[in-house]
């Protein structure tokens, strides 16, 4: 029997064996509350705790839903009757582009992460996410950047190229002015906060689960968020690179998408949809995860087929990467390639079907369904609408049908059935379900039911007729239409439906205004649900952290809420006097160490404002003020980092039950190392997208690739560059050895060697670029030149980042803040350094090796 099993079997209900005995010391709770207390007054803005950031995050995402909804109403009003002149065509283009962009990027994705930030820690039995300041930073950058982005509409500079912004329409030739840049900017913020969120979620879900919460006992919602974080890590890099390429093309005329110079607009479509299809699942899987939590709570039955649902989530996540070309069926891709994607699209139906059957089976086994509560009503609405959307999805997956329906209102109907059914309805279910977990009162059942029926009828009334207008040939993205037989009446119906939806949403807003109150205490476990987020909680999450023995701990361990609140489980106070949580092992969730967490501070907010200002000002080409904001961002960031990686001098802490945990940890088990690994994977996928772009451009325009080695830089250039890279990695390795020896006298030489390593890195980039400058190839002349220089530019960026990290590490060492025991900073720098060297070598092999293979 392992330790975990011994504890599991010793446990049930036997009061004497809980880790911490009663009575608890008088000042224990006070100390815990003190550590987690919110700062007073305006300084509440500096709070980083997930309860506050999560609620703000959700509120902001909801605000964007309302704003984009107003745009939808504008559009529907314009389309109510034929030949309408309410909106000018130019305005209409901006409105539909903003509606789509804001709904997808400023509402759906952030909402998904926001709910995760609010729910995950409590559901897992942690006190907070592992990097609270990172969430706060991501939130503020998104809120400020998003609001300014939305404001571009009022100045007439909003983007107008559709939410997927296909070039060449959006390139400098056909979209001069700043409109398209605002789009690139707006989604830049989402890229930043999505990646930050993914890091939080991966490390949080894998490392901060309550003791005993093995992978096999993890709540389904946590599984769905883990898969979603994985999707973000691999899908967002493609769109990050795509936006980068488009921005570079617009600013410097490097031709990536311009056919006349060997570029190809299809490259954008590939990169965009490689992100865009998984994006649909980034939106849908968390919603499915919520449904899998709500149904068991509302029916009083554990989810049927837990393992099958996990399989479905993971399987869908992976397969969704093999579907991107189904958005490109009409672009002339070889038939065999198209059928790979068609086949993968069918395969993905298998796991989706499994999930639906698991839900139906659970509902069929229900113990306490009636009377139907509002959350369940929204779940049923989700079934209905989503299944209908799935059916039309099968229709458009049939290639010949797609040729017919492509770019008509049929697609608009399908898309909204899927998005509204698959995301918006589960979200409202979640709102009604989880409100009592943060609010003092639950939301009103009566208003909720009214809102549901208005929305449900409204959605069908709005979007069902669009199938018909689409089949009757009405194209999408037109600002008005002539009075073809039947079009007018159907459109009027759609518009009426849209106002019904709006009325439903308005009721929900009123309900929240009336009943939603955050004030320390909450309404508690009103649904009698079984998972940990329903434990009694405060700012510090639960008073003590239980050991769980099953998937629904609150059902299986009936005394748990009381025991937890009395502080009889692990970590009942704040032994270090600071905010802290227990880090556990990633598979069997055994406690490993105590993670000290930062409290409130201005730096996340200030550096987010700096970041937002930097990008915004750059968009309107105010370079100097932009740089100023950039400096502010970096200074605030440094200030925040400086305090992390403290001296691990605290003695081991007894969290109860004889478990003695070290405070902080370095090396591969530490949470910061894990975050760094995730960042390396993200970087590698960005680079992977770049390699794909290079090779793709070669397949479409081999004629602009060199036919002889004469136009390539001589092989000495890459050889020198590669040696410099390798040498810098060797120096870092040497520093690592040196640091392990732990004499303070080694620090001087360590600083010098690390400094030399930074110089070598820089030299490698200079040599590489000098090599290319010695040839007649230029980045503006052809797609080949652009691709070659872009690989170099990407490397230069990584080198700059690593250089900053290196200098920062040197500074830490100079201030005596680096030692054999206190070395997180160095370890993280080293990991990223090795990555940058590997990327540099791969880039050299591609740029210098590949053309030589051909020539």
């Amino acid at each position: 029997m392992t330790k975990a099993e011994a504890l599991d079997s010793a446990r049930p209900g036997n009061d004497g064996e809980l880790p911490n005995p009663l009575p608890r010391p008088a000042e224990e709770l006070e100390r815990l509350e003190q550590a987690w207390r919110y700062p007073p007054g305006i300084r509440v803005l500096t709070e980083v705790n997930n309860n506050i950031i999560g609620v703000l995050y959700i509120g902001t995402a909801f605000l964007f839903f309302l704003l984009a909804g107003v745009l939808a109403l504008l559009m529907r009003t314009q389309l109510a009757v034929p030949e309408n002149h309410l909106l000018a065509p130019e305005t209409y283009n901006q409105v539909f582009t903003m509606h789509g962009t804001v709904m997808m990027f400023l509402f759906a994705v952030p909402m998904v992460e926001a709910v995760g930030v609010l729910l995950l820690p409590n559901m897992l039995g942690a006190r907070d996410l592992p990097f609270p300041r990172l969430s706060a930073y991501a939130y503020w950058a998104y809120a400020v950047g998003g609001l300014v982005f939305f404001g571009s509409l009022f100045w007439g500079v909003a983007p107008r190229g559709g939410w997927f912004m296909y070039p060449p329409l959006t390139s400098y030739e056909f979209s001069p002015g700043d409109n398209a840049d605002f789009w690139l900017l707006g989604i830049g913020f989402i890229e930043i906060s999505a990646i930050a969120g993914a890091i939080e979620i991966v490390v949080g879900v894998l490392r901060t689960r309550a003791p005993g919460m093995t992978l096999a006992r993890m709540p389904i919602y946590a599984w769905s968020m883990l898969v979603v974080a994985g999707l973000i890590i691999f899908a967002f890099p493609a769109v990050i690179l795509a936006t980068l390429l488009l921005e570079v093309e617009r600013s410097f005329q490097w031709p990536f998408f311009i056919a006349a110079k060997g570029g190809d607009p299809l490259l954008w479509q590939h990169l965009f949809w490689f992100f865009g299809h998984p994006e649909v699942y980034i939106i849908f899987l968390p919603a499915a995860g919520m449904v899998s939590m709500i149904i068991p709570a509302m029916t009083g039955r554990p989810l049927v087929g837990y393992r099958l649902v996990v399989l479905a989530l993971v399987g869908t996540g992976f397969l969704s990467f093999g579907l991107w070309v189904h958005h490109m069926f009409t672009t002339g891709i070889p038939q065999l390639s198209v059928s790979f994607f068609s086949a993968a699209s069918m395969a993905v139906a298998v796991p989706s079907g499994i999930q639906v059957f698991a839900w139906i089976a659970t509902v069929a086994a229900a113990r306490r369904m009636r009377p139907l509560k509002t959350p369940m009503l929204f779940v049923l609405g989700f079934f209905f609408i989503f299944v209908l959307g799935g059916l039309t999805g099968v229709m458009v997956a049939v290639v010949p049908f797609d040729w017919q329906a492509h770019d008509t209102y049929f697609i608009v109907a399908h898309l909204h059935y899927v998005l509204i059914g698959g995301m918006v309805f589960p979200l409202f279910a979640a709102l009604y379900f989880w409100a009592p977990y943060v609010s003092r009162k639950p939301l009103s059942e009566r208003i909720g039911k009214w809102a549901f029926w208005l929305m449900f009828i409204g959605v069908n009334l709005t979007f069902f007729p669009m199938h018909l207008t689409g089949l009757a040939g009405m194209p999408r993205r037109v600002y008005t239409y002539a009075d073809h037989p039947g079009w007018g009446a159907l459109n009027l119906l759609s518009t009426g439906g849209a106002y019904l939806i709006a009325a439903g949403v308005l009721l929900v807003v009123i309900d929240m205004a009336l009943h939603f109150r955050i004030s320390g205490r909450n309404a508690g476990n009103v649904w009698n649900a079984g998972t940990l987020e329903w434990l009694p909680n405060g700012n510090y999450a639960s008073r003590s952290i239980p050991r769980v023995t099953g998937r629904e701990p609150l059902w299986e361990q009936p005394g748990l809420p009381r025991e937890v609140e009395q502080g009889r489980w692990y970590l009942p106070g704040a032994p270090t006097g600071r905010r802290e949580t227990v880090v556990t092992s990633p598979i069997e969730a055994e406690p490993q160490y105590l993670l000290l967490m930062p409290g409130p501070g201005w730096s996340p907010l200030v550096s987010a404002l700096g970041t937002a200002g930097f990008f915004l000002l750059l968009t309107v080409k105010m370079v100097l003020p932009a740089l100023l904001f950039g400096v502010v961002a970096i200074v605030a960031l440094l200030k925040w980092l400086w305090a992390s990686d403290p001296e691990p001098d605290h003695p081991r802490v007894d969290i109860g039950g004889g478990v003695l945990l070290p405070v902080q940890m370095t090396g591969p088990s530490s949470h910061s190392w894990w975050a760094m690994v995730v960042l390396v994977i993200v970087s590698a996928s960005i680079f992977g997208s770049m390699v794909f772009s290079y090779l793709f451009l070669w397949t479409v325009s081999p004629d602009v690739w060199p036919t002889s080695t004469a136009v390539l830089p001589g092989w000495v250039w890459p050889a020198i560059s590669a040696s410099l890279l390798l040498a810098s990695a060797m120096l870092v390795r040497w520093c690592n050895r040196r640091l392990l020896r732990a004499e303070s006298s080694t620090q001087r030489s360590l600083q010098a060697v690390l400094g030399a390593a930074v110089l070598l890195l820089f030299a490698s980039v200079v040599v590489e670029v000098a090599g290319h400058l010695s040839t007649p190839v230029s980045p503006t002349q052809s797609a080949y030149g652009a691709a070659v220089y872009m690989v170099g530019a990407l490397q230069a960026f990584f080198v700059a980042v690593v250089a900053c990290m290196g200098l920062y590490t040197i500074a830490r060492s100079a201030c005596g803040m680096l030692s054999a025991r206190r070395r997180q900073t160095f370890d993280n720098t080293r990991l990223f350094w090795y990555y940058a060297v590997a990327q540099g070598l791969a880039g050299l092999a591609l740029v210098h090796g590949f053309p030589r293979l051909l020539a």
Partner: protein
């Protein structure tokens, strides 16, 4: 838990989908290059050589999948081991289904003709 044990178990868990991903990348990349370069197409049993390469890649992927399933999880708790094994096998099954499905396309559609009307 030792990090390498975690890596081992997680790789095992996702072995099926990872093999599927590599296989997908291989057949898509291969077909893309063959079609873009319009290489000469010798036929055998009605299918071009490139089609047979795709079939071979499918068989190879299935073989690798079968090999992965012989590996055992390292987690110390029997509960975890059962869960990891079950999920790994099920995911490998799903991946195998997808691989077979995609390979079958070779027998149904002509290779490089563009997939657009007209």
């Amino acid at each position: 838990m030792h990090p390498s044990r975690f890596t081992h178990d997680i790789l095992l868990l996702f072995a099926g989908p990872i093999v599927w991903g590599l296989h997908f990348l291989a057949i898509y990349g291969f077909t893309g290059v063959v079609c873009a370069r319009a290489l000469p197409d010798a036929r055998w049993l009605g299918i071009g050589w490139s089609g047979w390469v795709v079939v071979a890649m499918g068989v190879l992927a299935l073989a690798v999948l079968a090999g992965c399933l012989r590996v055992r999880p390292l987690s110390p708790a029997p509960d975890d081991r059962r869960f990891l094994r079950w999920t790994a096998v099920a995911l490998a099954g799903l991946a195998a289904l997808a691989i077979v499905w995609e390979t079958l396309a070779v027998f149904l559609v002509p290779g490089c003709a563009p997939g657009v009307p007209g």
